[in-house]
Amino acid sequence: MISKLETKKDEYPRPVEGERQAFMYGNEVVVWAALAAGAECLYGYPITPQNEVMHYWSRLAPDYGGKFLQTEDELSAGFATLGGIMAGARCFSATAGPGTILFQEPLAMAEMMRIPIVLVVQQRGGPSTATVIYSQQEVFLTIFGGNGEGLRIVYSPGSHQEMYDYTLKAFDVAWKHRFPTLVLGDGYQAKMRERVLLYDPAARGMEIEPTVPFVGLPGVPGVDREPAHWRNAFSVEEELYEELEPIINDYYRIAPSLMEKEEGYLDGAELILTGHGIVGRAVRTAVKELREEGFPVGFFRPLTLRPFPGKDLIRILDDCPRLLVVESAQGQLAKLIRISIGGELDHRVQMYPYFRPGLGISAEELVEEAKAILNGKREQKQEKEFSMSML
């Protein structure tokens, strides 16, 4: 029997005992969350701005029985991670930018074969090498980047606390539902330092789905147990369809239970601001400021980008059909919104774009933008045409 990677977890201390306040970098938070979730091995390839995930992991993990291997590229990192997971170990990886592109093949394989994998993506500027700094341009890549149906779960945290919470959660959700689960951070979140409360999930009664080996099971296949078929290649169309249909059905069956969002200040709102990740945080801050100044605005912040919490947004837009979409990309979130609200509502909603591909967005500038819209300084027709044509 091929056992789990030769780790001896029981001999090691728990990475986080009870609760602990810390002042940390985002990449460090990712590592502590992975350790607290019981991750055993990281296969990775360096790329800014996620390098420190590997640095901290290789420095901290051995104290808790964790292992590390730097592979020759991200393709290899992805497939090695899948291999470790199939052997029954809790493996994960982290990447960014061009690395996220190379990760698509292993991610698509994971979708086909129902292999749980956690991947943390710290977005950098694109297309291509672009900047090592920051963007929100990897939204579509993390969601729909594979050749397939985007059968993935994507969290978009906006603070170190959420980075910790959702990375922990990703390890549970991935293994529970056996779909690739991604935590979509960015260079700012990776490199900034702020307060976070680390906690032992067990101390909060939070259970993380245990790992199981998929291969090397005891007994003779076909005699002692059903033979396992781990396939990602099919020779007949019907065969693929037969295999794929239940996977797709499974995904959409669990999807509603996975959707998460934050919303606020909706009472009497005449304009809704929306953004995800670190931009969602600026959106929330701007709305709070604007409300304090007496401006009728509310916010909607999707925490899962896939599945997208569209039903909640539809309910909000039914009451207030004016939406300012803010993102450090050219309308990737806006496209997701238009897909999810769809049809008649899409025609009724006045969408104002605030697209800054690869550029940071501050709460201050959103306060100004929202005021301009509320004061009628953004020509509606022009904006509508702009947003339609720019998507």
Binding site: Y188, K191, R193, E194, R195, E368
Partner: protein
């Protein structure tokens, strides 16, 4: 728009210790129970070039890691100050290392709304006619105050060249009023723990630098220029 949170933008040449100073300042605030956020401006340079750091300290968590207007701009070199000009607004206080940067020339245009307080005028008098310092970039935006501190020179003459950033840190901490001296000392000690273990004198050296900077900051706050602008 004025936020209760203090926004500090620091800049210098790579190796001048801007990132350490900013990080220690943020950590000290965190230790006091304040909400602090520090982020470096990072590019693809491995060394050299301009290094910028952004710190926000307040009672509420910062809304976004970067900001448009800084309450304090701290510049250790001319090139870095050029990169920080976009962050200036009417409430900005500029602090610069006058051992590297020549004080700005006061033109007719700026008289009356900018004041310059050079904390150690004697120092410049001894320099003679050749001023080899970098030129102070032209600033069109009206700011609250501009303070000079020849930190590198003080470090070289009184302490050690390597602690000039700690002098600047002390002055910045006092000027911004966001943290207590004791908290900065604690954060500094945390940061240097392994080095202090090897060489206990490092602690005294850094604390001395910090206190020198703190006192300079204290003098700036008491200066007529500061009260005139406030």
């Amino acid at each position: 728009m004025k936020l209760a949170t203090k926004r500090i933008a620091m800049g210098g040449e790579g190796g001048q210790g801007v990132q350490s100073a900013a990080d220690i300042l943020a950590e000290a605030a965190y230790e006091e129970g304040k909400e602090a956020l520090y982020i470096p401006n990072f590019g693809i340079e491995q060394r050299g070039g301009v290094s910028l750091a952004f710190v926000q300290i307040g009672d509420e968590p910062a809304g976004s890691p970067k900001f448009k207007q800084a309450d304090f701009v701290v510049a250790l070199s001319g090139r870095s100050l050029e990169r920080l000009i976009g962050f200036l607004w009417e409430d900005t206080i500029i602090l610069y290392d006058s051992a590297w940067l020549a004080p700005p020339t006061v033109s007719d245009q700026v008289v009356g709304w900018q004041s310059y307080d050079t904390t150690a005028p004697d120092f410049f008098a001894e320099r003679g006619v050749t001023d080899r310092r970098q030129k102070f970039p032209e600033i069109k935006q009206k700011v609250k105050n501009i303070f000079a501190l020849p930190a590198s020179e003080i470090a070289m003459e009184k302490l050690h060249p390597r602690v000039s950033n700690v002098i600047i840190l002390g002055a910045t901490a006092r000027l911004t009023g966001v943290v207590q001296l004791e908290s900065i000392k604690k954060a500094l000690e945390n940061r240097l723990a392994s080095k202090i273990k090897r060489d206990p004198n490092l602690k005294i050296l850094n604390f001395n630098a910090l206190e020198l900077g703190w006192e300079a900051g204290e003098r700036m706050l008491k200066s007529p220029a500061y009260s005139a602008a406030t």
